[in-house]
Amino acid sequence: MFIQALIAGIAVGSVYALIALGMVLIYKASSVINFSQGALVMIGAYITYAVVTGIPAPLWITIPIAIVLSALLGVVIERLIFRYMTGVDLIAVIMVTLGISFLLEGSTTAIWGTLNYSFPKILPEMSFSLGGIHISEVYIWSFIFSMVILVMFTLFFKYSKIGLRMRAVADNQKASISLGIHPGKMISLSWAISCVVATIGGVMLANIKLLNLGLSGIGILVFPVVILGGLDSIIGAVLGGFIIGILGSLSAVYAGGLMGGAVDQVVSFVILLIILLVKPYGLFGTKETLRL
């Protein structure tokens, strides 16, 4: 029982991790807290669906197209909106991202309507049983993806030239400009990458559930993850994802019986609250300092 719950938790956790990664990336690059991540996840899934079902071509053609499209979406968002949003107060940024998610959900409804779609099987079949519970390929793939992306990001920010520039921009825009780095480019790039990651998450989620507008709901559920892991920590996002996922499923199994309600989502927010009170900057986050 425990083992099974644990495995289920890891499975869900890796999906959380995927989505949290996108959020963290944007924060690292432009210190924007993205409440529209959920909507990006949703629209990413829809785009992929449209491309895969719409274009009569093998997956190795259609999938890249979908990825490019979602990257473009990210760039567009940055160019059209966040270019003009430098040096505004936090609430404005938060609200703009919320506005974006309204916009995305609205346009999704306008284009695809509000029906449920069943997502095409684009993931190679590979599923096995572990501890008496049959793990479907979706979870395995999302686990793999989250791991791969984790490694890629870590290397990217540590060694690659662009990654270093991004960090410079995040650190201090003015200084980076004086170093001849174009912050705008870096930030759009980070949005592009983040959107791609969101799309991957969306595809995973659409495979777990149906493809519908409800997918964007995940955006809120991911906040406990990023807070636990630390807003600007990539490894934190992944670990946080697993921890929240596991605690959620454990609490659902053990506490669920005792206190009627659906505890698993509440538990993660209780954790969020505790973390904020005990260790506001999460497990791996960097502290912000006050100056006079």
Binding site: I91, L98, L103, G113, F269
Partner: protein
């Protein structure tokens, strides 16, 4: 100066006349919209005190309104407390709850505080859903239409006087607050909390106070909402409501008395407006009902436009519009004044 006073007197006079005649000329539907807007105004003005003036982002206004609604509903149905009494009590109750969830403000600022209030929203919703002995869970609580001085407040006419009156009162109080030291302390905390602290402002005390006042407003709004809908159930107090309220004060104007009012009216009227336009166009071009999506689309678009083009919100736009019209109508001189 005297001239100015006269103007204001005239303005107040007109307002009072509209207030007294309004219910008898408008359709129930219009009254319903106005009542919703008035209730929203109360909540928004309150949230503006917390977020707009004190700079504390709260994502739990929806849940706070819920606390007010439930308090009133329980007092009214289970304990038979008179209707008018339940409203302030609901406010106080919510103020207490708000202060409890304001405690993290001792350590947290900005986004992290926003997160703690988000948690508050989720936890309160959980309570609404699961503390069935009090809230009767998703089942919700029915309220029989209340009596006010013997007149049954059923329907929209009676409520118009109540909601609009209380909304006006709420705005007046908020207006007073920011003529005084407490108000200044709030703004100081928003602008530069450290400096404020060294000047002698007890940051934590004033943050809590701000939470209390703001949630008091929310509580009153909630009580009114509950009685007006004659039905209180959790689904009306979800996160989307909290987000709508943030949208209101941003669209209306952060840290501006009129921001709350304009924002509330805007957010309540906008969907109607979009619907009307769609119906209007629909008469000529047949339209799918999925075009209802445009409501959401336009909403999102407007919010973004506001924040990118006019961060000061509707109040600023209207002010500029006013000056502009004045400039157009009168001399080009007043144009110069208006623009500086």
């Amino acid at each position: 100066m005297a001239m100015h006073r006269n103007k204001t007197m005239i303005g107040i006079g007109i307002a009072v006349i509209c207030y007294l005649l309004g219910p008898f000329v408008l359709s129930d539907y219009m009254l319903y919209l106005i009542n919703l807007a008035a209730i929203a105004t109360i909540g928004a003005v309150g949230l503006n005190i917390l977020t707009g003036y004190t700079g504390l982002i709260a994502m739990a206004n929806g849940a706070f309104i819920g606390v007010g609604a439930y308090t009133a509903a329980v007092l009214y149905t289970k304990l038979g407390v008179p209707f008018l009494l339940t409203i302030p009590i609901a406010g106080l109750m919510t103020a207490v709850v708000g202060m409890i969830f304001g405690i993290p403000a001792l350590r947290l600022r900005g986004f992290y505080l926003a997160m703690s209030t988000l948690a508050a929203q989720i936890l309160l919703m959980f309570v609404f859903n699961n503390w069935t002995s009090i809230t009767s869970g998703e089942r919700g609580i029915f309220l029989s239409p209340p009596n006010l001085f013997g007149i049954s407040l059923v329907g929209d006419r009676g409520f118009f006087f109540l909601t609009v009156g209380i909304a006006a009162l709420g705005m007046l109080l908020s207006h007073n607050l920011f003529k005084t030291d407490t108000g200044r302390a709030f703004i100081a905390i928003r602008d530069r909390d450290i400096a404020a602290n060294i000047i002698g402002v007890d940051i934590f005390k004033y943050k809590l106070t701000s939470f209390a006042i703001s949630s008091f407003y929310a509580g009153v709004a909630g009580a009114l909402f509950g009685f007006y809908m004659t039905y209180v159930s959790p689904e009306a107090f979800g996160l989307n409501v909290s987000i709508d309220y943030i949208a209101m004060i941003i669209v209306g104007g952060l840290g501006n008395l009129w921001g709350g009012l304009l924002g509330a009216v805007f957010v309540v009227i906008l969907p109607e407006f979009v619907d009307k336009v769609i119906e209007f166009v629909g008469q000529f071009i047949p339209m799918e009902y999925t075009f209802a999506a445009f409501r959401q689309l336009v909403f999102g678009l407007l919010i973004i436009i506001f924040l990118v083009w006019e961060p000061k919100g509707l109040t600023e736009i209207l002010r500029r519009l006013f000056c502009w019209l004045k400039a157009k109508i009168f001399s080009p001189r007043s144009e110069v004044e208006s623009l500086e």
